[in-house]
């Protein structure tokens, strides 16, 4: 019963988009999967991302050394057959630390953006659905949050609450809430005027059910596309915070933190800085490629490129 009205809604939307399409349209997520085929860069980005995620998951198997193992004898060794990316000032293997470092980047980015998606998405849906003064007040609040450049807001929160994994996640997710609220609100305003929402109300469905079962699927693809792009931002912000000294505490390897440590010996041992930087580049590049291809595919103005 609960799933029955949803196809009606999407059916109505499909009719508006493509009147000649005889097949019933699938839900928002399925549509998103279809978008992948629209642009090869999405696939390239996804492939890169999968490789990086696998490297993070299997870091204990892939890493040649323990990322925390110090060795006075092997301090600041340049890249060689023994240490493919060299060693740092404590004689720790840079390759192993880069592999393990992917974990913090991914955990922080996924948790923070996941939180922001849920919180921002809910705010946008409810605010757009309720409308009126409530909507105006919520959007004003979002404007205030957005009036800070995102790194600065994250930085102040972490500086004050203390650099811990949890605080990092909260700070980064807070900076990403307003854009998700905005992107979820806009289609909600349009969708709530549709006949199937009125029908739901006439059938006596609760507001919560209408919002989350009937409107949400129509908003999902925009939110997910933006989520990928914001994952990239979250990775960059986390790296910057770690570089500033507000990341997860040492000796846990993080890419930004490794570059901060590299700074002291930058003249003698540039490899300590080069490889974590390349790792950040690869991950952000993959996420941007993925999100970018998806966005082009969803944006009707750029469609057909």
């Amino acid at each position: 019963m609960s799933a029955a009205p949803a196809p009606t809604g999407n059916g109505a939307e499909a009719a508006a988009i493509a009147e000649d399409s005889p097949a019933p349209r699938r839900g928002g997520l399925a549509r998103l999967v279809g978008l992948f085929n629209a642009n090869w860069t999405s696939w390239a980005g996804l492939a890169m991302l999968v490789v990086i995620v696998l490297m993070a998951i299997f870091a204990p198997l892939l890493a040649p050394y323990d990322p925390l193992d110090q060795s006075i004898l092997n301090r600041l060794k340049p890249p060689s057959a023994d240490f493919l990316m060299g060693t740092d000032a404590f004689g720790r293997d840079v390759l192993s630390r880069v592999l393990y470092g992917a974990r913090i980047s991914l955990i922080v980015a996924i948790a923070a953006i996941g939180l922001a998606m849920v919180a921002g998405g809910t705010i946008g849906l409810v605010s757009g659905y309720v409308g009126g003064r409530f909507d105006v007040a919520m959007m004003q609040a979002m404007d205030v949050l957005m009036s800070f450049p995102s790194l600065i807001l994250g930085l102040v929160i972490v500086a004050l609450l203390g650099p811990e994994l949890r605080n990092l996640i909260v700070a980064i997710s807070l900076t990403a809430v307003p854009p998700f609220a905005r992107i979820a609100r806009a289609p909600t305003l349009a969708v709530k005027e549709r006949a199937f929402v009125e029908a739901g109300r006439a059938l006596g469905f609760s507001h919560a059910r209408i919002i989350f079962v009937h409107i949400l699927p129509n908003v999902m693809s925009e939110v997910v596309v933006m989520g990928t792009l914001w994952l990239a931002t979250a990775v960059r912000v986390e790296a910057s915070l770690s570089f500033i000294g507000l990341g997860v505490k040492p000796p846990t390897p993080t890419w930004g933190g490794m570059m901060r440590d590299a700074f002291e010996n930058i003249l003698d041992a540039p490899w300590i800085a080069i490889y974590p930087g390349l790792a950040i580049l690869a991950l952000v590049f993959a996420l941007n490629l993925l999100g970018d291809g998806l966005r082009d595919a969803t944006d009707p103005k750029l469609r057909g490129e």
Binding site: L155, L160, A232, R236, A262, G277, L281
Partner: protein, 336 residues
């Protein structure tokens, strides 16, 4: 136009109030008790209580907030524990350095980004477009502190053609204060050699900051030029036989820049955030470097004040962007 300016300024009030509340709330949920920090480790509980009373930290929150508002309104942002000077004085001294860097980066990003985007749009899906696409996505993916270090390694240390850090070399006197922007002030003082000296110092930090902005501007310009190229007036001009060059650079570009200009305001936020790490790496004595060292030394008054200052600069720049946009595109002025 005046009505538009007033309306935008009025809209800034809730934003600024929100900023103040946010900064205030954040200072009050600091885990460490500021009174205890100020009193030092050997202080007795009575001494801490006395300091708390003098700072007004024992009063109800709303009273504290009003006090805070009065302080901010009178320009009192406390004293830096590190420089031992009023924070507002530190800020005033460092602001021009950040503005000079941001302006140089903005100029660079616009001068490179707009032509790149326009070329990519015209050569859409060709190999040039693909190269520009990879460059722009890559430009957005590079961590600015990494870029900064790599540029230093290559251009200052290996090739030794550009200065490593600072606005000028140690021992070089600052120019007489006019605009606070060294390059311009040296020029106005008639010292061409030092103006060039300051300009060379500006190159690496501004290239670092400008890179992601250039990429963003190129991308926005590309998609809006593509959109404009599909408009009727372009087909008409083509049919009439306008020279391609004139058509593109004069008519198409002007009609496409609206979206790019909006981005410029948002990019200023990127410069301000980016300036924290970039200024720290290049030893550029601006707000970002100040914030960086204040965080490193757990010096909270400057952290809060700098955050507030950055929020205000960001808000003001975005108002200015709205006004510029209204000049370029009269429809925007009518809408608001």
């Amino acid at each position: 136009m005046l009505a538009l300016i007033l309306r935008r300024l009025a809209l800034m009030i809730p934003v600024l109030l929100g900023l103040l509340v946010l900064v205030f709330v954040l200072t009050r949920i600091v885990p460490a008790d500021p009174a205890a920090v100020l009193a030092g480790e050997q202080a007795s509980p009575e001494q801490v209580a006395a300091i708390r009373a003098t700072l007004g930290l024992d009063r109800p929150l709303h009273v504290q907030f009003v006090r805070y508002l009065v302080q901010v309104a009178s320009g009192d942002f406390g004293t830096s524990l590190y420089t031992h000077r009023p924070v507002v004085q530190d800020l005033a001294e460092r602001m021009p350095a950040t503005i000079e860097l941001a302006l140089a980066s903005m100029l660079l990003a616009i001068l490179v980004g707009i032509p790149l985007g326009a070329v990519a749009a015209v050569r859409r899906n060709g190999w040039l477009d693909q190269i520009i696409r990879v460059f722009t996505i890559g430009g957005l993916a590079v961590a600015s502190f990494w870029m900064a270090i790599m540029l230093q390694l290559v251009f200052s240390m290996q090739l030794d053609i550009l200065p490593l850090r600072g606005r000028v070399d140690a021992g070089v006197p600052a120019p007489p204060f006019l605009t606070g922007l060294y390059v311009i002030d040296y020029l106005l003082a008639g010292n061409l050699a030092l103006a060039r000296h300051a300009l060379w110092h500006l190159v690496l930090p501004s290239v670092t900051l400008a890179l992601p902005a250039t990429a963003t501007i190129a991308r926005f310009t590309r998609s809006s030029v593509i959109e404009t190229l599909q408009k009727d007036f372009v087909a008409w001009e083509r049919a009439v036989g306008y020279p391609r060059r004139v058509m593109l650079w004069k008519y198409v570009l002007r009609n496409s820049l609206s979206a790019t200009v909006t981005q410029v305001g948002l990019l200023f936020g990127l410069f301000l955030s980016g300036s924290i790490v970039v200024e720290a790496v290049f030893g550029w004595p601006g707000l970002g470097d100040y914030l960086f060292s204040a965080i490193t030394t757990a010096d909270y008054q400057p952290v809060m004040a700098t955050t507030l200052a950055i929020g205000v600069i960001y808000a003001v720049v975005n108002i200015m962007v709205d006004l510029v946009q209204a000049r370029i595109d009269p429809r925007v002025a009518e809408q608001r």
